[in-house]
Amino acid sequence: MPDTQTAAARRPWLDPTAQPFVRILNVTKKFGDFTAVWNVSLDIWKGELFGLLGGSGSGKSTLLRMIAGFETPTAGRIEIDGQDMTAVPPYERPTNMMFQSYALFPHMTVERNVAYGLLREGKSRAEAMERVAEMLKLVQLTPFAGRRPHQLSGGQRQRVALARALIKRPKLLLLDEPLGALDKKLREETQFELVKIQETLGITFIVVTHDQEEAMTLSSRIGVMNEGEIVQVGEPNEVYEFPHSRFVADFVGSVNIFEGRVIEDEPDYIRLASAEAGCDIHVGHGVACALNQTLWYAVRPEKLRLSRTDPGGAFNRVPGVVDEIAYLGNLSIFRVRLDSGKMVRATRANVARVDEEATSWGDRVWVSWTDTAGVVLPR
């Protein structure tokens, strides 16, 4: 079983005997009356690239700053590699941080920026310069060693910041919106570069981002934060396909949510009556619920099927009118107004170069989905 072996090694969170590398235990941070982080507990394993995803004000940056040591938790503990770090000042922690603004020292050259951490560590100038040269090679900045930060492009600055944060070989690298200031194309390239560097060096990364796509591309696991709390932790596909709540379903990707009432509750399926959808919803697996309970059914746009003809059956199909079409090249997004008045979003991959059904504005279409397409959410 060599496959499970490697899978377990790559996914230590599935191994109950593995020791977490970073432990955050019941951490709370208050600024006066404002609670920025509330009772967060989180385990992160060695070699992970953990994504902290949340909107602005969700507490993700505060949590990161507590791990770096810039903020002290109001309550709770933070352990790194088995050592309690709660009261350790930032300059004694085995972590380094890459700042959102990059925070490059404007009065120092690229080389001196990168060397700064090593020199503070007491390394000799010769050794420091040797390691700086190596690091600059890794991030492909060797020709720019003598430049000042303001003489660099955004992408180059980002790489200087990364090099400076990596030079001390930290046990844990913290990245605060590392790609936020880059344009889309550069961001995509850099995402893969970042993952490659992380795999080469084997350093544990924690990345804070508000961009769900970025979190999905980079992370081994994602922690979704909302109003100071971690609302769900999981691998990217888990968070996307099996969200625990309407918030997560809606925040990660886009989703159509129907409110429904349980009218049949069997061990192998349940059925919801939904006025919002305008049809009954059949869910092809058992759900722990009670009759007449209100539940929400979330289904992703790419799992809805549009057709001009009635697909038939008594459930999971509802007619509507195409309200808007956005053609994105690789796919098209349709906004369909159901007869119930609810607006739903459906995407279709443009696998052929010409749409045979030629669905257009104002057309009457059927929206349908399979009984495994969506998830039932209790809240």
């Binding site: 810039f70 300059y91 380094n96 700042f99 925070a103 700064y116 951490g117 503070r120």
Partner: protein, 270 residues
């Protein structure tokens, strides 16, 4: 449109005349050959020659420069500390008092500052025997005190505008707070420190009132000498002295601006 087009230049010219006519006339009359200040008697530089041989004026100028340089340096050190505490230490006990105290000399009448300083020095001499008598030392202390407030204001705004994550980054890379201050904070706020120093230097060089209160025998600053001379009637050599001061200050400002421009150009190039 035409009215607006005429109105602006006229007001502009009037404004400049209002500001600079007295100075221009002073410069012109410093080259006046006549002993009477208000009567033009032909071009001459004799007052400049007389000036550089006047030991009283030269001595006072030397004292003024020393006082200004030392008190400006003290004011920069103290003012920067105050500004740093006020911008970086968050809310702490006594913060409001410190804010008020640091800014008070800006609005305090000079007479009161001077008088209270004098009383303090007299009381201190009686209690601890230092400063023994009044003279250059007491002027330096008094000037450093009131210049510090100006430096604190200038440095505070620069500190507030500085990206704090620069300091955090240095700390994150293993620098202790004192090290961070000298490695990162000071270089970044250096322009404000230079500006603060120049401002303090000028203020000290200008000051007559406070210096008059806290000075003692043998320590007359340039403004004090000029003032006492003028009381006996304006003599042309004062015009010459004033012209030299204007030239020195103008040159300093020009140098500063040029230096700043060059730094900016270096920044944008490449």
């Amino acid at each position: 449109m035409t009215r607006r087009g005429l109105f602006l230049p006229v007001v502009c010219v009037l404004g400049f005349v209002f500001l600079y006519a007295p100075i221009v006339s002073l410069v012109v009359y410093s080259f006046n050959d006549s002993r009477l200040v208000t009567v033009w008697g032909g071009f001459s530089t004799r007052w400049y020659a007389q000036l550089v041989t006047d030991p009283q004026i030269l001595g006072a100028a030397w004292i003024s420069l020393q006082v200004a340089a030392i008190s400006a340096s003290l004011a920069v050190a103290l003012g920067t500390l105050a500004a740093y505490v006020l911008t970086r230490f968050g809310p702490f006990r006594g913060r409001a008092i410190l804010t008020g105290m640091a800014a008070a000399p800006l609005v305090m009448p000079e007479v009161i500052t001077g008088l209270s300083m004098l009383l303090l020095f007299v009381a201190m001499e009686g209690l601890v025997g230092w400063p023994a008598g009044r003279g250059m030392t007491t002027i330096i202390i008094a000037h450093a005190t009131f210049c510090m407030a100006y430096v604190a204001v200038v440095v505070q705004s620069r500190l507030a505008g500085m990206d704090e994550s620069l300091e955090e980054a240095a700390m994150d890379l293993g620098a202790r707070p004192v090290r961070v201050f000298f490695d990162v904070t000071v270089p970044v706020i250096a322009p404000a420190l230079v500006a603060g120093w120049l401002l303090a230097f000028t203020l000290s060089l200008d000051d007559l009132v406070i210096a008059s209160f806290v000075t003692g025998p043998g320590a007359s600053t340039l403004p004090m000498v000029i003032f006492s001379k003028v009381r006996l009637g304006v003599s042309p050599d004062i015009n010459a002295l004033a012209t030299i001061i204007i030239a020195v200050v103008g040159l300093g400002v020009a140098l500063g601006t040029w230096q700043m421009r060059r730094a900016m150009r270096g920044r944008k190039a490449g």
